[in-house]
């Protein structure tokens, strides 16, 4: 009997060279099993032999691993502090099952949630989800039970379940890991949602930058068809538009239109895909549902902090030593995540800033390390947890350049429907450029015309440019249709407030005024 070696076939492991390592083990006569990733990304490619982990491996390390004298052993994987500290509900199977094996899935509690939902009936299924306190994991944090109730009460011959897998935020990869590592769980969650609200069709909208996730989900949908019937799931692929992660834009894209944002109301729960009542939930929201149904809403709600119940798969990324996926109940502090679990920066330099919640999330300084990770605490600190991605920066980060990038990203990705986002983002880049260049602004050719009596002729000072930027952010925040334009001010203003020296000012104007 040959040695069984388990290596992840997650896109990240493959990008780090897992295929070559797997081939080297196979060439040495081992039986190689490709499993999902444990989420300890700094150790990928990680091989597991009888519970013991080795990583990060190259093909050249294989001989030493098999000889039992590899210095890359990390001991028992399950006992590793990064794993042992977690509370894994959604990622309970991570690192332990073959993603496309129906046998592995059924043997680890798969389909139990769907079976229980069918036993309970639609109303009691929704009641379980409501009781669990599960909130939308895409960023908005809207209670899933309330959304499902709205859809179930809407009268229509046709309803849809749409899974938002357009995970475009930098520092997020939990959706990708679910789809690549445990695709049947997501499909089961969608089937439960369909059963609960009376929908028989589900779409998974996956971004085109995730070819591995697309392939796995397509294969999984075919394999699982008999288990979820009469509910059907179809995989649809995005086309490189970040804004399609916004739910109404995503619906337009699914309909084959430009991914422009729709004004709300009507809510998608009432008039969604093709005008029909639609549940639109993030991957992590739907993936949490099988566990909730199998173990009960009360068990899920027993974990968490304040109004944020259950666990959150937190993604630790950027310039961090121990990056990866860390699922834990809400309430862990930002400092624990970055310093203890993440191990500080990969470069070894001091942490200067942590962006929480992707490109639309605020930059936090180590002064915020006491903040408990939950929706309300971050909102109170002028931030957001978004999709729970952390991007760590060391002290070489240029925060005014990052503020400029936030505006530029918004300009590149704006759908163009509303003016504050479409125009404001470009004006924002220009203002930040002038602030960074300390160039001020002369009157332009039109303003200089003699008939422009009210136009200002004197150049704008740096302080005036800064207050103009704040004003612009205010307009974007309250005047934009969706979170792209509405939340771009978070990274910009937080960088300005916490790092005024990077903008060439001693203290921001707003604090001086207070």
């Amino acid at each position: 009997m040959s040695v069984v070696v388990r290596i992840s076939d997650d896109a990240l492991a493959i990008a780090c060279g897992a295929d070559a390592v797997a081939a080297a083990f196979a060439a040495a006569g081992c039986t190689v099993e490709r499993i999902s990733s444990w989420g300890m990304h700094w150790l990928e490619p990680l091989a597991e032999i009888a519970g013991e982990g080795f990583g990060p491996l190259t093909p050249g390390d294989v001989a030493a691993v098999l000889a039992g004298n590899s210095p890359l052993s990390i001991g028992a994987i399950a006992a590793h502090p990064f794993i042992a500290r977690q509370q894994r509900f959604t990622f309970a199977r991570a690192g332990q099952t073959r993603p496309l094996s129906l046998d592995d899935y059924a043997a680890t509690g798969g389909w139990a949630g769907l079976a229980r939902a069918r036993e309970l009936g639609p109303e009691a299924t929704i009641a379980e989800v409501t009781q669990s306190g599960l909130r939308g994991r895409g960023g908005a944090g809207f209670p899933a039970g309330i959304k499902w109730t709205t859809v179930s009460r809407a009268v229509s011959a046709r309803k849809y379940v749409v899974c938002n897998a357009d995970e475009g935020d930098s520092a997020t990869f939990a959706d990708r890991m679910v789809m690549e590592g445990d695709p049947f769980m997501l499909i089961e969650g969608m089937a439960i949602a369909g059963h609960a609200v009376g929908a028989d069709m589900g779409y998974v909208y996956i971004r085109s930058e995730y070819p591995h996730a697309i392939a796995k989900m397509q294969a999984a949908v075919e394999l699982a068809a008999a288990h979820i019937a009469p509910f059907r799931v179809e995989v649809r692929v995005g086309a490189g538009a970040y804004v399609c992660g916004e739910e109404t834009s995503l619906l337009n894209s699914l309909e084959g239109k430009r991914g422009e944002v729709r004004a709300k109301p009507p809510l998608p729960a009432i008039e969604g895909l093709f005008g029909k009542p639609t549940v639109v939930n993030n991957v992590l929201t739907l993936a949490a549902v099988p566990w909730i149904l199998a173990h009960g809403g009360a068990a899920y709600a027993a974990v968490g902090f304040g109004r944020s119940r259950g666990t959150m798969p937190i993604q630790i990324a950027g310039n961090v030593r121990h990056g990866g996926l860390f699922e834990v109940g809400f309430g862990v502090t930002l400092g624990e995540l970055v310093m203890e679990i993440g191990g500080g920066t990969a470069s070894g330099r001091p942490v200067r800033a942590v962006q929480v919640g992707g490109p639309l999330g605020a930059y936090h300084t180590p002064d915020d390390f006491h903040l408990p990770f939950d929706y309300e605490s971050f909102a109170a600190a002028d931030g957001l947890i978004g999709h729970a991605g952390l991007s760590v920066f060391d002290d070489t980060a240029d925060m005014s350049a990052l503020a400029r990038f936030a505006m530029q990203f918004c300009a590149v990705e704006s759908c163009g429907k509303c003016t504050p986002c479409r125009i404001g983002s470009t004006r924002g880049v220009e203002v930040i450029d002038r602030i960074r260049a300390r160039s001020g602004r002369e009157a332009d050719r039109v303003e200089a015309l003699p008939q422009m009596h009210n136009a200002r002729k004197a150049p704008r000072t740096l302080a005036e440019e800064v207050s103009l930027l704040e004003d612009l952010c205010e307009t974007m925040k309250f005047g934009s249709l969706c979170a792209l334009g509405g939340f771009t001010p978070y990274p910009v203003l937080s960088a300005l407030r916490h790092f005024p020296e990077d903008f060439g000012i001693a203290a921001p104007a707003q604090e001086a005024a207070e």
């Binding site: 990008a15 990304h41 930058e209 649809r236 086309a239 490189g240 990324a317 990056g323 992707g358 490109p359």
Partner: protein, 147 residues
Amino acid sequence: MTRTMTAADRQAEIDRILARHAGREGPLLPILHDIQAALGHVPEAVIPTIAHALNLSRAEVHGVISFYHDFHVEPHTRPVIKLCRAESCQARGVEALAATLAGETRVAIEPVYCLGLCSVGPNAMVGDTLHARLDATKFAALVECVA
């Protein structure tokens, strides 16, 4: 293979793609993906055919093609490396990495905003193949391999 395709071949391929998606809900994006996979790009000339098949105006089809970053109406003349320029890769030094190849003309370095490998950046994608933990040496080797 795409280079040698005649106009008749191309038309037959497009007809096959349109037939495959007939009756689907919201088929335009899947059709455009398939055409781009088959032809390497979505030529302007196919817009009227698609518009006719889906009962849309040519303007609507053009609007969709031009909205999405993935679709392009001209074929790529150089191999494309998509280099992630998002925040997490910036935190790991992608801007300095990109600067090392500022004068490179054999390949097109296109920005992409996040490949979902944010803990092991800087990252790049060529076709469907992902490359992580890039440094100047590995990136230069990747460019040589692709060019």
